[in-house]
Symmetry: C3
Subunit: 138 residues, 3 copies
C-alpha cells in the first residue's frame, strides 16, 4: 500500500540507480513495518541541480550530490519504534547494496487511512466487506 516517491540528482552518483534504490526501500518496508510482499508502487525521478534542493549541513549531517529524497505515503498506525527501524534499515541497506552515504538519505512518511487506497478495479481493497445480515434460519 505504500506509494513511494524517490528523487535523485541527475548529476550525482545514483543516476540510473533509482530502481535499485527503490528495491532496497521496498524490502526495508516488508522487513520492518509489515508491508505485504509484492505491495510495491513507486515513482522515481531524476533532477538537475536546480530541481533537487537540499541543505548541505542541516542538523550537522553532511549531504552531497548523492542526496536521495524518499517520501513514502502509507497507511497510518506504525509505532515510533517501527518507523525508526524502517529509517535505519533503509539507510543501512542503501549503504550495503549501493554504497549510498547514510548522510545522504532523507526520508519522510505521510500517513493515511486504510480506506484511502484502491489497487485497481475501482475497489477500496483494504475496506472490510460489509457484513450481510445472516440468512434467517426460519
Amino acid at each position: 500500500m505504500p506509494l513511494v516517491r524517490i528523487s535523485l540528482s541527475k548529476t550525482g552518483p545514483w543516476t540510473g540507480s533509482g530502481r535499485r534504490i527503490g528495491e532496497v526501500v521496498y524490502r526495508a518496508m516488508v522487513d520492518t513495518i509489515q508491508v505485504p510482499v509484492d505491495d510495491n508502487f513507486q515513482v522515481i525521478t531524476e533532477h538537475d541541480s536546480e530541481g533537487l534542493i537540499y541543505d548541505a549541513d542541516y542538523l550537522g549531517v553532511r549531504r552531497t550530490d548523492g542526496f536521495v529524497a524518499i517520501q513514502i505515503t502509507l497507511t497510518e498506525g506504525r509505532t515510533v519504534q517501527a518507523k525508526q527501524a524502517l529509517f535505519a534499515t533503509i539507510a543501512h541497506g542503501l549503504r550495503r547494496e549501493l554504497g549510498v552515504r547514510p548522510e545522504d538519505v532523507f526520508i519522510n512518511l505521510v500517513e493515511v487511512k486504510k480506506q484511502n487506497w484502491s489497487f485497481g478495479n475501482g475497489i477500496a481493497q483494504y475496506v472490510e466487506a460489509r457484513r450481510e445480515p445472516a440468512a434467517s434460519p426460519s
Copy 2:
C-alpha cells in the same frame, strides 16, 4: 481543492493522454465527493519503465504498462462510502472514456485540513472569516 498527481508510463498506451485522464478524475470528484465545479488542479507526469514501478499482480490484480497512479490530496472528512464511489467512478470513467483497464488504475488519497489550502492571493480561502464583535448599540 484537491491537488491531483497523475503518473503514467511513457512507453504505455496512455502517453499524451494524461490531460484526458485528469479530466475524468476531476469529473468523478465533482460527481461523488462534492468537489466544487472548476476546482481543478493537477500535475501530470510521464515516466520511463525505470521511473514508474508497479507490482504486476499484487492482490491478484493484473497490471500492465497501461498502469496509471493517481494520488489525490484533498480536504479531510469524506465517508468511506464516498471514497468507494470515487474510486469506482474514476475506474469506470477511465474505461468508458479512454479504454483504460480498471486493473491498471491505482488511487491513493491524502487528507488534509481545510485550512491547508491557498488558491491564490496568499489567502486561506476555506477558512471562515473571523467574526467581528458586533458593534455595540450604545
Copy 3:
C-alpha cells in the same frame, strides 16, 4: 523538516526561476512557522501545458501561465493564523522578489507527525532520545 514540491509551467514566465521561488518559500517558512534555519529540502519540476493543469478562474481568482503550485509537507501543529501568515508571506515575497502575480500562487500543506522524518543516517532526529533509567547511586 518541510519537504517542498514546486511545480511550474515550462512555457510560462518562471521557467528557470524555480530555485529562486523555492528560496522565497523557504524564508517565508522560517519567518512565519518556525521552520529551523537551514531546514531546506525541495523538489522543483517544470511541466508543459499538458502536465500542469489549473483552473483559470476558480473562486474568482484569475490564473495565468505563470501559475505556481507549491505543496509543503511539514510537521503538524501550526495554528490557522500561522498558516495564514505563511500563505501571505509566500505570495507577497514572490511578488516582491520575482514579480509573480499573487493570483498565480497555489499552496497546499500536508501535515505529518514529527516522528515521520529522517534527515540522514537512518535516524528519526525529531524523536526525543529515550530516557535511560538513572544509574543507581548505591
